[in-house]
Subunit: 232 residues, 2 copies
Amino acid sequence: MISTDENLINSDKNLLKLISSQYITEEEFEQLYDNSVILRFNKGEVLLKQGMKTTHLVFITKGMVKFNYQDGSGKNLILTIAKAPSILGGANIFYDNTNIFSITAIEDCEGYLIDVEKLKTIALNNSNFTMKVLELVSGMFKTSVFNFISLAHKQVNGRIAEILLYLSRTIYESETFTLNLSRQEFAEFVGCSKENVINTLRKFHNEGIIEVAGKHIIIIDSEKLNKISKVG
Amino acid sequence: MISTDENLINSDKNLLKLISSQYITEEEFEQLYDNSVILRFNKGEVLLKQGMKTTHLVFITKGMVKFNYQDGSGKNLILTIAKAPSILGGANIFYDNTNIFSITAIEDCEGYLIDVEKLKTIALNNSNFTMKVLELVSGMFKTSVFNFISLAHKQVNGRIAEILLYLSRTIYESETFTLNLSRQEFAEFVGCSKENVINTLRKFHNEGIIEVAGKHIIIIDSEKLNKISKVG
DNA sequence: CTAAAAAAGTGAAATATTACATTTTTTATA
DNA sequence: TATAAAAAATGTAATATTTCACTTTTTTAG
């Protein structure tokens, strides 16, 4: 799914970096951290809910979340996975205050709230800062288009290979990792049925490309996986 | 594919509107029109090429274009269709100067060039303007996510119904229109094979939902088409 | 106007994907 | 720890989609 180096997560990291760097002052930065109360979210808990107006962003300092969308008929789709540290909800700030999708903890999380109005005030008084945010949002747009393309062009094989590489490289940062998504959720990420995920993972396993034992996954032949993700 | 009211085309219209309205001065607006030479593009001609650095945007005053992406293996995908008046290339301005996709005339077009550097200068000196552009880019992001969702969730039936409604309502603004896309291009827009497009159009025709005679299409039962696009 | 090229259309076979029914395994919890 | 509930796994049938080989129609260029 994510075929470029830039993605929501990296963008959020950049946002974090830029907020705390040369573009705004220390005081402005401090203002953003509302009342500095640490919030705790349990696995499965919704941090931001699709369709609701948001007055705050969440800056998670610990844990992992999914960006999930539910359509009219109740079908779910996972747009991406993000891990701390990350600012969540950034995609909509300057458009309107309605969340396009939900953000749900897939493991226990900790974080702070950031007031959107304060963020906007800082942006209005600081053109350079606004330009940086603009770059950021454009980057997200680009990523989203690449997602779109990947989904349209590739079959399940290619998508699963792509997502395995993404999880390994960007999320878990290791060839060996323990998935904290169910097969159903994995399927919602790929955009296919859960049976298809199970079969494809087993096929990759049988071909010696990966090692699968329940949620424990080892990427053995990332070269081959890469080829599959490219050919689609 | 386009399931919300906002889309690339409308966003571009807004950009046009906002550039020429309260956010920048008359002089600034005039500056944007480089040297005011009208360019003509024939059907099939590429206005902006995927992978190339762009120093200019194109403001088309006449004609229709497709946003198309070509992947490594030569497969094509049409992201959207836009018609004049529209500013093209806006999605990438503030990110980097490389085009993510190509923009190709699907009928003869006329337009002007807009210098990106000049646009940036105006943005830097005008926070309100930048904020507006930010809103615009966020809107595009949102649309792109909805596209992504539609593609992931719906089967060909639903996607074709959706695209037919989009073409009718947004592009041709009539229940009766003459398509200026080949069946192959239509398939690249839907994200399926051309045979699938042909069969589905005939099926819709046989069911009395639309009337198809070559490139000439009449939407007869938009209610039913809407239902198909929703159920997917 | 006509030949050549491109696009549209067709049907059947091959492939990919989903849906279903069911069993096994894992996880949560009383 | 026993039990219930949830998730994972599996094989098969049904469905959706693509691919291919081909014919017909339309468009284009000389």
